[in-house]
């Protein structure tokens, strides 16, 4: 990077921010000068229109276009359900769909279970804050960074030489032979899933820990006086008390898992039978010049997320009625 490049970049950022401020300032200036009559209307336009236009251009219109593109071939001509037929007949793509199902089954259940157990174990223990920070830290870093961290753990050196990847070293300590983990199907998919679990457990732990602290102490004490075991107290008092948060954690992690892209892209790029829908969508649409097929995959992803969207909308409408 030369100094000229750096100056160019700084000019871009400062200029961009200045232009943005100028546009917003101009909007408010014009609003001030707007005629008294209909001022409420103009006020609404100034406040709401910029965001609304951006959301329509950037999300709503493209989502509709993608849904239509899903029924076209790579020339842009309508080809009915061909893309979906292709999807469900190609062994490679079927494998991708299957992998996505495995991801969605394993990641939410395991990370929620481990996160919950950890949250219970460390609750009120000494150094709770540090315990939390250690497990929560992966949530702050990028999935690309996480991918590199774990790729190093899975690294392979020929048998007989010193291993530099921890996993193979552990295998050797137990008397085994080193394995090319990321190239060996199907174990590689599970090893990628481990990375996602590593990231999401911290999230589950923090949310559930907050929920556990909100369980009324009186109920726990009453149960204790009744002579229950800690396990009974956990299943009969704590668990029902945090059910709402559990649902939230599981749906949230499920959505994140359905859309997982960075981990697969960084660690295997979808090779060796590890691809998932989000990665395959990128490969088809932006690498293989098959926008129709890519869009069809995106549509499948959307349909998978849809039940969760509808559920959330229903809960929110109820909530707004209460207000």
């Amino acid at each position: 990077m030369t100094t000229a490049d750096l100056i160019g970049k700084i000019i871009q950022v400062v200029g961009g921010l200045a232009i943005f401020a100028a546009i917003v300032g101009l909007l408010f200036f014009l609003l001030d000068k707007a005629p008294r009559r209909g001022k409420d209307y103009w006020q609404l336009v100034v406040f709401l229109a910029p965001a609304l236009i951006l959301v329509i251009l950037g999300l709503i219109y493209p989502a509709i276009r993608t849904s239509l593109l899903a029924f076209t071939n790579n020339q842009g001509d309508f080809n009915g359900l061909n893309n979906f037929v292709w999807m469900f007949t190609q062994p490679a793509i079927l494998n991708t769909l299957l992998n996505t199902v495995i991801w969605v089954l394993l990641v939410p259940t395991i990370s929620t279970t481990v996160g919950l157990a950890y949250a219970v174990f460390i609750d009120k223990s000494r150094g709770e804050k540090i315990y939390k920070a250690l497990v929560f830290m992966p949530m702050a870093i990028s999935m690309v960074g996480a991918g590199i961290i774990w790729k190093f753990v899975y690294d392979y050196r020929q048998s007989g030489t010193q291993q530099i990847g921890l996993l193979n070293q552990i295998v050797i300590w137990f008397g085994g032979e080193p394995v090319q983990w990321l190239q060996t199907s199907p174990i590689n998919t599970f090893l990628l899933i481990v990375v996602m679990i590593w990231i999401q457990t911290g999230f589950a732990m923090v949310v559930l820990s907050a929920a556990i602290k909100a369980v009324p102490v009186e109920q726990l004490e009453a149960a204790e006086i009744d002579g229950t075991t800690p396990w009974q107290r956990f299943t009969n008092v704590t668990l029902p008390g945090i059910r709402g948060s559990l649902v939230v954690v599981i749906t949230t992690i499920s959505i994140a898992t359905l859309k997982v892209f960075d981990i697969v892209r960084t660690m295997t790029a979808g090779n060796f039978d590890t691809s998932v829908i989000a990665n395959e969508m990128y490969t088809q649409a932006f690498r293989a010049a098959e926008p129709g097929r890519g869009s069809a995959l995106a549509l499948v992803l959307f349909i998978l997320v849809l039940p969760i969207v509808i559920y959330n909308i229903r809960v929110m409408r109820k909530q707004r009625e209460i207000r």
Binding site: G8, Q12, P50, G58, V153, V217, M316
Partner: protein, 330 residues
Amino acid sequence: MSTTPIAATTPDPDTGNRLARGADAEVGPKAKRVKRRLTSRTATVASLVIAVLWTIPTFGLFISSFRPAELIQSTGWWTIFQNPGFTFENYSEVLLSASQSSPQLGSYFVNSLAIAIPGTIFPLILGAMAAYSFAWMKFRGSNWLFILIFALQIVPLQMALLPLLQMFTTFLRPLQNQLHDVLPMIPEQNYLPVWIAHTMFGLPLIIFLLHNFISEIPGEVIEAARVDGASPGQIFFRIVLPLALPAIASVAIFQFLWVWNDLLVALIFSGGTQDVAPLTQRLAELTGTRGQDWQRLTAAAFVSLVIPLIVFFSLQRYFVRGLLAGSTKG
């Protein structure tokens, strides 16, 4: 707490207040006594094991990033005491070396910042304005529109990528080229498409989160300002924004980290050159082409992690809040 369905189901149904206060509830001494008895020795051991398991991968990479190349390639980092060696060379090489074969992360680091700062400020201001209008202006269809925006935050980004890229190529490309002709300092590949994409994708979540908070602002304050003759702009910038500052801080941190850590949007809208591409994109590229250069990869990974980790450890409270509130984004 978490975005949405959440608020209705957790004991504290008030997302806005949650955002302002943080998730930790105070618990009295009685609670401590009861709960401590639940913590047995097995639990302590189990939590220690989990904590160690979760930390070791990062720790190993961190140690390795300071080891000389020959040692990284020939011995495991856990043998550091048998094979001692310490160097800053990996870092100076990935950051400063100008040779073609080195990662040259310096300019990508600048790109990441240049994308993330406007990529946070733009959607935050526009989102706060929209949230204010949803909370305090009455208009037909406002409820319906708000629910639509709320639902949009969960729609996969993948649905929007292709058409948006086509739109950018048709309408934004000529503008960028013109800009380059007038100001040759600004390359034809500039940050504009990435900024706009992040602004568009960030808005639904930001509007939703800030709406909850801004609607909690006492109406009398806004009414009093209006009676005193303040203009709508003054009310918004002098009264609403400062009052909403705690929530804005949380949402800002969340959006900043989201943009900083993003790979997908960068891959599609940055063009992939040193002029625009952020660290994540460069790292993904390096793992693909130089997957065995661990002396570079380890140091490079930590260069990209340093900002998120600083944010995480210094602003953990805000970060947790933003994350709890915004975890379904994407």
